[in-house]
Symmetry: none
Subunit: 555 residues, 2 copies
């Protein structure tokens, strides 16, 4: 927690990859991190090997204060990154050591502090409503105070490019106030995001030449040039680059960490991450999307699921011969993969390939493959999607193998549903109660069970467990991890169906199943049923193993 420089990156302190997902990224419309989320984000960024993780604004946002407290208490063990607290300079007319906001930055325990300072004279006058002199004094005093308390300090020169265009002298004197007072570097911020690479690079070059200061760059994407601007600034002399995961941020967003790192490493040859971490780019990007509860952008440079996919007829045959002619990069370098899209959604070849990936051997079973292709197309036309539901797809493939008379691959269903009924009551006193009753046949018995739950699906799951666990105790090992709902509407809006994804887990693995129906509870039931059937399948496979595998000989 006390490290102030990045550890273990080949460029050491000479070049900073500085992530601000947890502060500037969190400004994106729709993102709302819990403290637990924030800790998970910081760990993922650290595992990628970024040099600095800006954790938030302690003292301004209660969640951020708590994040730093929990980090300081030992919940965050960063291997590569130094932790950074973001905050403002002291208020006008108040000594730095008496400003509670400045105090909160020190109390956060963060070894590095980034201060935001106004570099555009118009902002000083019109928004801050103070003089240029007092603005510079606020910066210098606060930097000096924090440095005196043993912290490393960076200064974000907000609205720098607009400010420099409007009044270069004022903007440069702000940088001077920061660096002279002890800040390690000044970050030139394109806060409004209006810059283009050529002009921005010229300014960076000029500022470095005129001041000799170490400068960083912070770009917003309002001209769709944030990544290009960041890279151009580095080429022009910036040695500290601020990014956010997947470009999350206010308005059009920030410079995307993964594209910037991908470009610096693979196009400019700069070793900006520790050895072996570049292959984590795709995984970390998708995991961070998951935590932000946003769908990953399939078309994102380097890390998108479609970014190395080819569907052009022009290319398809040539790609087979010579993939490197048609990709700017071997996708494996960034942990991504090439896909060739079949224009019909599920062709025989892609299903066979997918089967092999899932451990279902479909070679020599043409009828099963044909049946599976038909079944998948029919289901996808009704709104099913197997892209994220491998467990449901594996069950489907095995059922088709069975139906085609191949060696039976699916165990008998461990139970059968006769019926269920769910009751939802909003009572006159305002209380809302969900209750489910299931009637099932299991182990030769008919069982009826009723349970309450937090919502209809939770009640149904509870009743099902109530009925089954006494007969199938292994079902108790299955925990529901996540539950996602998507309403699929056709053009008229009337025939909406609901697609439910259920993520389950036992001590060995996690798996995802899917259900689709006009009724959300029935869709959930279909996904739940598959989740339990998959557990039964795996349990059978494991039970078989000692009898047939090499372990049996020594038993």
């Amino acid at each position: 927690m006390t490290r102030t420089t990045p550890a273990g990156t080949p460029l050491g302190d000479d070049f900073h990859v500085y992530d601000t997902t947890l502060r500037d990224g969190a400004q994106r419309e729709g993102i709302s991190y819990s403290v637990t989320d924030k800790l998970a984000v910081a760990r993922l960024l650290d595992s990628l090997g970024v040099g600095f993780v800006e954790g938030g604004w302690p003292g301004a946002l209660p969640k951020d204060t708590e994040f730093f407290a929990r980090a300081a208490a030992g919940e965050l063990d960063l291997r590569h990154a130094a932790l950074v607290a973001f905050g403002a300079t002291r208020r006008a007319g108040v000594p730095a050591q008496e400003d509670p906001q400045v105090r909160a930055l020190l109390d956060s325990g963060a070894p590095v502090i980034t201060l935001v300072a106004k570099a555009d004279r118009r902002h000083v006058e019109r928004a801050l409503r103070t003089s240029a002199e007092e603005n510079r004094a606020m910066i210098a005093d606060t930097v000096r105070h924090l440095v005196g308390e043993g912290r490393r300090v960076f200064v974000d020169a907000e609205h720098f490019f607009d400010g420099y265009a409007h009044d270069p002298d004022h903007a440069l004197r702000v940088l001077d106030a920061a660096v002279t007072a002890g800040a390690d570097l000044a970050v030139l911020c394109d806060t409004n995001g209006g810059q283009l690479p050529t002009g921005l690079a010229d300014t960076v070059r000029e500022v470095v030449a005129r001041t000799g200061f170490r400068v960083g760059i912070h770009c917003q994407d309002d001209t769709a040039c944030a990544v290009a601007n960041s890279v151009a600034a580095v080429q022009a002399g910036a040695s500290h680059v601020q990014c956010t995961a997947n470009g999350y941020g206010e308005r059009a967003g920030n410079a995307d960490l993964f594209s910037v790192v991908g470009n610096l490493r693979t196009k400019l040859g700069m070793p900006v991450l520790p050895d072996g971490r570049l292959t984590e780019l795709t995984r970390v990007s998708h995991a961070l999307a998951e935590i932000a509860n946003l769908a990953p952008d399939a078309h994102q440079a380097y890390v998108g699921a479609s970014t190395f996919a080819h569907k052009a007829g022009l290319h398809a045959s040539a790609i087979k011969v010579d993939p490197e002619l048609y990709n700017h990069l071997d996708p494996a370098v960034v942990g991504n993969e090439m896909r060739v899209l079949v224009t019909e959604m599920a062709g025989r070849a892609s299903l066979e390939l997918k089967g092999a990936e899932l451990g279902v051997d479909l070679s020599g079973a043409p009828d099963a493959v044909g049946g599976a292709v038909r079944r998948v197309k029919e289901l996808e036309a009704r709104g099913w999607s197997f892209e994220a539901a491998d467990a449901s797809l594996e069950l489907l493939l095995r059922r088709e193998l069975d139906a085609a008379g191949e060696r039976s691959a699916v165990p008998e269903a461990p139970f059968e549903l006769e019926s269920y009924r769910v009751l939802l009551d909003h009572r006159p006193d305002g209380a809302v109660v969900s209750e489910a009753t299931v009637k099932v046949h299991v182990a030769g018995t008919r069982v009826i069970a009723t349970a309450e739950g937090n919502g209809p699906v939770n009640a149904l799951d509870a009743a099902l467990r109530e009925a089954l666990v006494p007969h199938l105790p292994w079902l108790d090992e299955v925990a529901l991890v996540d539950y996602k709902v998507r309403i699929l509407t056709d053009a008229s809006g009337t025939d909406a169906v609901t697609r439910v994804l259920v993520e389950s887990r036992d001590d060995h693995e996690e798996w995802t199943t899917v259900g689709v129906h006009g009724n959300i509870v029935e869709a959930s039931w279909l996904a739940l049923r598959d989740a339990l059937a998959y557990k039964a399948l795996r349990r059978n496979a494991n039970a078989d193993r000692p009898a047939t595998g090499p372990a049996a000989a020594t038993a």
Copy 2:
């Protein structure tokens, strides 16, 4: 249909905005245009004032052949743009006039033809499997033949930048073959999308200096720099820029037409569109997303719904004073608008600003503002989000005004719920039935009504209408347009709550309301209730108008 140059753009033929949404954009995973779609796309692009619309590859794709036939038959009346057919040069060893694919280009009737030609020697040898000489002859023969038939010809030099880096002499001789044979210009294509602006601009500058040819630029987004690369190429001497709407295209996509045009016009001052068309940018972008059946990207530069939205507490108070300090551009210039987001980061200033946007005057009502801030924060901590639910927020603000004793702003609730009960049956025969019963008080009566529906929420909505419409016939004007569900899970996964957004519409407007609860049906109920309350509010406001407004005097 016979125009070969752009009409009515201020730069005339000196600068080309060339759109290839219908050909290269259609390569995007998930896009499948019908011929009718293609005609609609071409009309929208033309209405924006682009110079060239590339319609597809006649002869290679049946839909594209049909598109050109219907265009030629009079279904496409372009005002600004010249229509372009895309195709390949003659095959190796076949005279151009005998090649059926070349024939199809002429038969399309398109006045302008863009030929793709291989500029990278490795592609000629390994993919085309012919010699560099024959490749150049294929280009020259085909260009000469088409020009001889009265067509204007452009040549896309595919993989130009990789090819130039590998063997500059070969790449330049390909350009020479095209231009010497009569092509108007050669388009330098970053087909694999691996370029960065600085290197790409250097190459463009060098090629222009060495050849003196007119060149165009075509960029893919694999380094997230397609827009920046396009602009840098224009600054380096390219006078023809190929883009696709919203950056649609294979892999990471193409250069986004709207960002490129926005940058050229507002940052570099180039009048690339006819007067008055820049304000159509946002509308056309969204309409083209609609036709592609893709959600518009809320964070897209210039045109995204969130691109001029502000949620930072830091900025909100200053934005109120001086919006131009915080936007790189007046959003009205591109037909977009500024929004203030209400979130947990929001303070009093942003709520007041948002209130003004919604027509709720909170000035001089500090208690109401304070109450609203507390209420919003409390609800957002429990999973509510008002970012996308303006109607719920307006009701909240008006209720706080009432509570603070200000002039009553919300009408009495038009009805009161006593209780509801929803029954979901999965019967032994497999049928799934949803039935809801509501007990409500409306117009002094207690009404009980029961209805079936497609799922629990649909049944509840149906029962509610059954109960209320006889007493409040205006409720029948409200249609449910969309329904979105989001499960919000905390880290442990047990205390999940459900957030429901309901989008409603009558003949005058659309509005969105939100509900959050552990039980999805109750969350839906809360959103439904607000949807009807909002309708009642608007109805009252409209009913009041003739009685109090100037219209009353003449009535």
